[in-house]
Amino acid sequence: MKALRSTFLGPIVATLLAIVIGGILVSAMGYNPFSVYGSLISGAFGNIPSLGNTITASIPLVLCGLGIAIAFQSGLFNIGADGQYWVAAAASVWVGYHFTSLPGWLHIIFCLVVGMLVGAIWGGIIPGLTKAYVGSSEVITTMMLSYIGILLARYLIEGGPMQEPGSNPQSPEIVQNTQLPYFNQTLMQSQLSLVAVAITILAAVVAWFLLYKTTIGYQLRAVGFNQRAARYAGMRVTLYTVIALCLSGLFAGLAGSVQMLGVDHRLMDGFSSNYGYTAIVVSLLARNNPLGVLLAGLFFGALTTGGQNMQIISNVPAALTDVLQGLIIFFVACERIVPQIIQWYRRRRSLRSGVAAS
C-alpha cells in the first residue's frame, strides 16, 4: 500500500502543480481560472456525449501508451509509435475493404491481427534488429521510421494505390461488417464503440499480466533495469531487446487498427494527430504501469475534448491544454524535486525545533 502510494504520489503532485500554474497563467491572461477549468471539465465529463468523446479520444492514447510503457520498462525508448500507428492503420483499412466474403467477426480479428503485426514489424523488427546487431540507437531508428511510416500512409491515399477514385485524398470505406458496432444512438454520436473500450481494457490487463506475471515480462524488466545482471543470469539480452520493441510496436499498431475500425472507418488525412507523442507523456505520467496508463490516457483524452469546449465557452485558446501538457511533462520529469522539497522542509523544521530547544 505504501509502495503504491509513493508510486502515484509523484505523478499526482506533478499534475496538480501543472494545473495550478496553468490557472495562474490563465488569470494573467485576464480570464477567470475557475470558469476556464470549469468549462474544461464540463467539456470532458459534463454530459453523456462529452464523456463518450473523452473515452473515444483516450483509446488510441492508452493503446499507444501501453506500447511505450513496455519499451520503457525494458529500458528502451520507442519514439516512433506514431509511424507504427499509421502503417498499421493503413494495413487494417486495406484488409478492411478487401476480403469481403469473410464473416464479420473473423474479418475484424483479421484486421486487428494484421494491424498488430505490421506495427510490430515497423516498430520492432527493423529498429530491434538494427539495435541488436549493429548497435544503432532505437531512439533514432524508431523516430526516422515513424516519418517514413506517416509519409507512406499519406502517399497511399494521395495518388497511391489506396486512394478512392474521386477528389478527396482518402481510402475507400471499410465494409460495414468490420466497423466496430456502436450499439445505440448516443454512443454513435461520440463514435464510442464498447467493443473498442473492451479491447483497450483487455490490452491494458494483458500488458500488465505480461510484464509482471510471465517469464517474458520478468526478463524484459530485468534487461530494462540492469542489462549486465540479465546477461549474468543467462538471459538473451539481444533477443529480449527485439521482443520489447516488437511488443511496443504491436500495441501502437493495435491503436491504429482500433481507431480505423471504431472511429475513422477509412484512411484519411489526420496525420497531425500526434497520438504517438502524446502517448509518451501518458506513459511517463503512469510511471510505465499498464493499469496507470488507462487512467493517464483518460486524463489526456479529457484534456483534448475539454480543451475544445473550453475554447468555445471561455474563448481561451485550446492551445492552453498543450501548455498544461508541457507543464505536466516538466513536473513529472523533475518529480525528484518533490521529495527533495519535502526533505528540505523537514530539515528546516527539525533545525528550528533544535534551536528552540537549546
Binding site: 510471465t214 517469464t215 549486465r228 540479465a230 533545525l351
Partner: protein, 508 residues
C-alpha cells in the same frame, strides 16, 4: 598534545532508530585517529553531525575548546573541518584546479585561472599531494581524484581532515600512497579522522582508535596496545574468528581445466594472455594479483560473460569454451561476480525476483511461461533464514539492503543451486568483519562438500586465510602456483609484481 575536537555524549535519534546513542571521542592535534565499526554502527551519522549535515538530538561537539553548533556543511567548513566523502563530489569535465576552487574562485566573477592554478600547485607542494592542477578530472585515477578532494579541503583552510572509508575504492598501491599523504599531514600537525571497517588499515595508519558498535562508542585505545583480534571482538561484540580454521583439503578429480586461455575485455584489450590452470574438487584455489591484471576477465570468461579469444575451458570433463552463460549455469557453475550492483543483482527487483534470477524459467518458479510467486517466495524465505539476511522481508527491493546483506543474497542464490564449482570474485569487498566471517565459512563448507572453489580476491589476507593453493596472476599470466599453508605475504607480494624467486629464474 591538546584536544582539538571533542565529542561529548552525542546522541542522534531518528524515529524508531537510535543512530547514535552516547558517542564520546577526543581528537588531539597531530594524531591520526581511526573510527572503527561495522556497517550500521553509526560512523556516518557521527560524521554527518560533525560536518553539519545532521543536527544532534543531544550532546555536545567542541572544536578547540569551544562548543559549536553547525547548521550546514558551509559553517563546518568555515570552522576548519574538511571532509573527504567516500564517493567523490567532482566535476569530471573540469580541471583539478577548477574543481578545487569551485564555489570560492580567486577573482570571484572575474575568475583568475592563473591564480587558481598557482594556488593549487602551492597547496599540493605544501602537503605533498603530487598532482597536475591543469589535468582534467575525467583523466585521473580514483587515487588521484581523492587527492583533489583533499586539496579542496585545504583550499578552504581545513584544520582537520575527515576521511570517510577512504580506501574502499583504491588499489593496494593507491592505498599505500594515501597512507603516505596521511603521514605527511600528521607531520604538519593536522589531525586526521580515519573512518574504516578494515582492521589492518586501522592498525597500520592510526595512533589511536575509537571503536563504535550499535551507535555507541565502545572504547578508545592506543592502536599499538590493541591486537587485531581485540579490535575485532570490540567491533562485533563477541569472539570473532579472523582466520578460519579448516581441515586439510582432500582434493579430488579436476573440475576446471584452463588450457592456454586468452581473453579480451569489452574494450578489446588483451587482458588474459594465455593461462593454463587446474582446479580440483574439494579445494579452494586462490587467484591473487594486483587489480587490473586480468583476474576478473578470467573469471568472466569461465562464467561465459566474456568469450575467450583462444584456448579451451574444460569443466567437469566437458569442453564449455563455446557455451552460453545459461548452459554453464546448468552444468553447475556458480558465480559471485566482482561488482554485485552491476552484475549480481537487479537492484530494482525485490529479493524474491533476485533469488530466482537464474531459475525463473524452471518449475516450481514458473510453469508454461507464467511466474508462480508463492513457491519463489517460500524459497526466498528459506534462503533468508539460512543465510541470515536482514531485514528478513522477501518483498524488499535489493537496493534497500546493506552491502553485506546484498552479498548474502547473491551467495545464497549461487550456492543453494548445489553447483559443482563456485567462482567467488571479491566475495567480501566492502563487508564488515562479522559478515566476512560468515561468507568465509560458507566457502570452506562448499569445499568440504567436495566442490571446487575459485577465489579471486585482491585482499591478501583473504587469499592466505582460505586458499589451499594460491595462483598468482600478473599481466594476464600465471606467475606461479604455490601451496597455501606455507605461503607468506612477502612471497605472494613479490610474485604479484611479476618476479619469480631467484632459484626458479635460474632454473627456467
Amino acid at each position: 598534545m591538546e584536544d582539538f575536537l571533542e565529542v561529548i555524549d552525542l546522541k542522534k535519534w531518528f524515529p524508531g532508530v537510535k543512530a547514535n546513542d552516547g558517542v564520546n571521542l577526543t581528537l588531539r592535534r597531530g594524531e591520526v585517529h581511526a573510527i572503527l565499526g561495522e556497517n550500521g554502527a553509526g560512523k556516518s551519522t557521527l560524521m554527518k553531525m560533525i560536518y553539519g549535515l545532521l543536527e544532534p538530538t543531544s550532546g555536545e561537539i567542541r572544536l578547540a575548546g569551544q562548543p559549536v553548533h553547525f547548521r550546514s556543511p558551509r559553517e563546518a567548513i568555515q570552522a576548519g573541518i574538511g571532509m573527504v566523502h567516500q564517493h567523490f563530489m567532482l566535476i569530471p569535465a573540469l580541471t583539478v584546479a577548477e574543481n578545487v576552487v569551485l564555489g570560492d574562485e580567486p577573482g570571484g566573477v572575474n575568475y583568475n585561472r592563473r591564480e587558481a592554478v598557482r594556488h593549487v600547485r602551492a597547496l599540493s607542494e605544501r602537503y605533498g599531494l603530487d598532482i597536475d592542477p591543469t589535468a582534467k578530472i575525467s583523466q585521473l585515477s580514483v587515487g588521484l581524484q581523492q587527492r583533489v578532494e583533499i586539496l579542496k579541503a585545504f583550499y578552504r583552510k581545513a584544520r582537520l581532515i575527515i576521511l570517510d572509508e577512504p580506501t574502499a575504492l583504491l588499489t593496494p598501491q593507491e592505498t599505500r600512497e594515501l597512507f603516505n599523504i596521511v603521514r605527511n599531514l600528521k607531520a604538519e600537525g593536522i589531525p586526521v579522522l580515519f573512518i574504516s571497517h578494515k582492521l589492518d588499515e586501522v592498525k597500520e595508519i592510526s595512533d589511536r582508535v575509537t571503536v563504535m558498535r550499535a551507535g555507541k562508542t565502545v572504547d578508545s585505545v592506543r592502536t599499538a596496545d590493541a591486537t587485531p583480534q581485540d579490535l575485532a571482538n570490540m567491533m562485533v561484540g563477541r569472539e570473532v574468528v579472523l582466520r578460519i580454521q579448516k581441515e586439510v583439503a582432500k582434493p579430488g578429480a579436476p573440475v576446471l581445466q584452463l588450457e592456454d586461455v586468452k581473453v579480451r575485455d569489452k574494450a578489446k584489450n588483451l587482458r588474459v594472455k594465455g593461462i593454463t590452470l587446474e582446479l580440483r574438487r574439494g579445494e579452494i584455489l586462490g587467484l591473487a594479483g594486483i587489480d587490473g591484471n586480468g583476474q576478473f576477465e578470467l573469471a568472466d570468461a569461465i562464467a561465459g560473460l566474456l568469450r575467450p579469444e583462444d584456448g579451451r575451458i574444460i569443466f567437469d570433463g566437458h569442453d564449455i569454451t563455446h557455451m552460453t552463460p545459461a548452459q554453464r549455469t546448468e552444468r553447475g557453475i556458480a558465480y559471485v561476480p566482482q561488482d554485485r550492483h552491476a552484475d549480481g543483482l537487479v537492484l530494482e527487483f525485490d529479493l524474491v525476483e533476485n533469488t530466482i534470477l537464474r531459475d525463473f524459467h524452471k518449475r516450481p518458479y514458473s510453469s508454461a511461461g507464467i511466474l508462480r510467486r508463492k513457491p519463489a517466495e517460500d524459497y526466498t524465505k528459506r534462503l533468508i533464514e539460512a543465510f541470515d539476511v536482514r531485514p528478513p522481508q522477501p518483498a524488499r527491493k535489493a537496493a534497500e539492503l546493506s552491502g553485506g546483506n546484498q552479498q548474502k543474497v547473491i551467495l545464497a542464490r549461487e550456492v543453494s543451486r548445489d553447483p559443482i564449482m563456485l567462482i567467488a570474485a571479491q566475495p567480501t569487498r566492502g563487508l564488515d568483519v562479522g559478515a566476512i566471517e560468515g561468507i568465509h565459512r560458507q566457502l570452506v563448507r562448499l569445499r568440504d562438500e567436495g566442490k571446487g572453489v575459485l577465489l579471486v580476491s585482491l585482499e591478501m589476507d583473504e587469499i592466505l586465510s582460505l586458499s589451499d593453493r594460491i595462483a598468482v596472476i600478473h599481466d594476464g599470466r600465471i606467475v606461479d602456483v604455490i601451496p597455501g599453508d606455507t605461503a607468506t605475504r612477502e612471497q605472494i607480494g613479490l610474485l604479484m609484481t611479476g618476479s619469480r624467486t631467484n632459484s626458479e629464474v635460474a632454473s627456467s
